[in-house]
Amino acid sequence: MIDLTGRVAVVVGAGSGIGRATALRLAALGAVVAAADLDLDSAAETARGADGVRPYFLDVTEQGTIDEARDAVLRDLGAPRIVVNAAGWDSVGPFLDGDRALWEKLVGLNLVGTIAVVRAFLDAMIERGDGGRVVTVASDAGRVGSTGETVYAGAKGGIIAFSKSLAREMARHAILVNCVCPGPTDTPLFASLPERTRLALERGIPLRRLARPEEVAAAIAFFASEEASFITGQVLSVSGGLTMHG
């Protein structure tokens, strides 16, 4: 039903977790995937997992690397139909203990990183003129807040509002923009949290387990597909009911 044969997709943060699962899922659906990551070795490992996936180096906090990766993707694969940013980072701790350097890193990587990645590919998508899909990855923390993730939640909430506003601006170009909000997911990022935090988060999930990265990737792939041709500016949580609503 979902068929992305021949579509070019860019997945940033494709070296691990949700980004890797997304790159592999889109490739399994037939897309040609540019798998970009700060860690080129892990992006290359993702690329070895499926046909039609090529690794690229991209650091969302360094504009020069975004521009270089963009140019390389346009040269190698052409203008993408699908852009997904799954690169993200968190450091859990009391808000009162954080400092400006931490805030700037959290907002810079999660929010400004998303903005910069999406911005980089829009011109080529608009120029080609047959529309496209942008899927951002926020977090349930950005919808309902999360203790110990206050600035991260602020950045993720920013991604949600950014996605909706961009959806309005891009509608005329038939570029649909939607946002997936994972809850606690079985990824390296989650594994880095203190055990106490991990247990508390798992207990709070009505389905009583973590998301698998593939389950988040499935929602991203849905938004990227023809099946979602009338959906834009929407936010979908894949969190086992941790947060409800839409």
Partner: protein, 220 residues
């Protein structure tokens, strides 16, 4: 990629244009479908439109008649089995409305293998459709999570249906101007979102409300 082979699905309100698209889509993906509506002619037409080897059977039932509805519910459970998927479409003129979903829950819970409920509502702000849908979806999702039954809601934006076509031209034009994508939804686009929620692809999604509205609504 979405495969519902071997699943049984009940579509309540399957005589409406959107309900019909859902019944046909779900059947095309391999599920056995019980198409239910209080309008026997409308739902018979739904069943007639299915392409082989799709399996859509039509049932006339009015949820306002509890005893009568229960008879039909038992008939459905005998013929296609306790449903894995229950879709309730309301808002259209011909739809079965009300707590018809409730009738199927006991069987689903007793079987103990989870399931999917998808509520389909309009996005209309004027009649509070969406707010009511959010309340029902999240409450049901919370209560049924322990049984592995996932509950989600699709809110349909203005859709290209005969109901809308019958309105004066300016109504349609005004709607199209307000929708960022500048067109109405096709019923199949609503059905596609329902199929996603009903599928294995949505195995960790519950309590969510997804608008298929071309950007008309971007709630929270």
């Amino acid at each position: 990629m979405i495969d519902l082979t071997g699943r049984s699905a009940v579509v309540l309100g399957a005589g409406s244009v959107i309900g019909r698209a859902i019944a046909l889509t779900v059947a095309q993906l391999g599920a056995s479908v019980a198409a239910v509506d209080r309008d026997p002619l409308a739902v018979a037409r739904t069943a007639l439109l299915v392409e082989p080897p799709g399996d859509v059977r039509d049932y006339e039932a009015d949820v306002a008649d509890a005893a009568g509805f229960d008879v039909v519910r038992r008939e459905i459970e005998i013929e296609i089995g306790v449903p894995h998927i229950v879709v309730e479409v309301t808002g259209a003129a011909d739809a079965v409305t009300g707590p018809a979903v409730r009738a199927f829950l006991d069987g689903m819970v007793r079987r103990g293998r989870g399931g999917r409920i998808v509520l389909v509502r309009g996005v209309g702000a004027g009649h509070g459709d969406r707010d009511a849908a959010v309340g029902l979806t999240t409450s049901l999702a919370g209560e049924l999570a322990g049984d592995g039954i996932l509950v989600n809601c699709v809110c349909a934006g203005p859709t290209d249906t005969p109901l809308l076509a019958a309105q004066p031209r300016w109504v349609r034009q005004r709607l199209e101007r307000e929708i960022p994508l500048r067109r109405l939804a096709h019923p199949d686009e609503i059905a596609a979102a329902v199929a996603f929620f009903a599928s294995d692809r949505a195995s960790f999604v519950t309590g969510q409300v997804l608008s298929v509205s071309g950007g008309l609504t971007m709630a929270r």
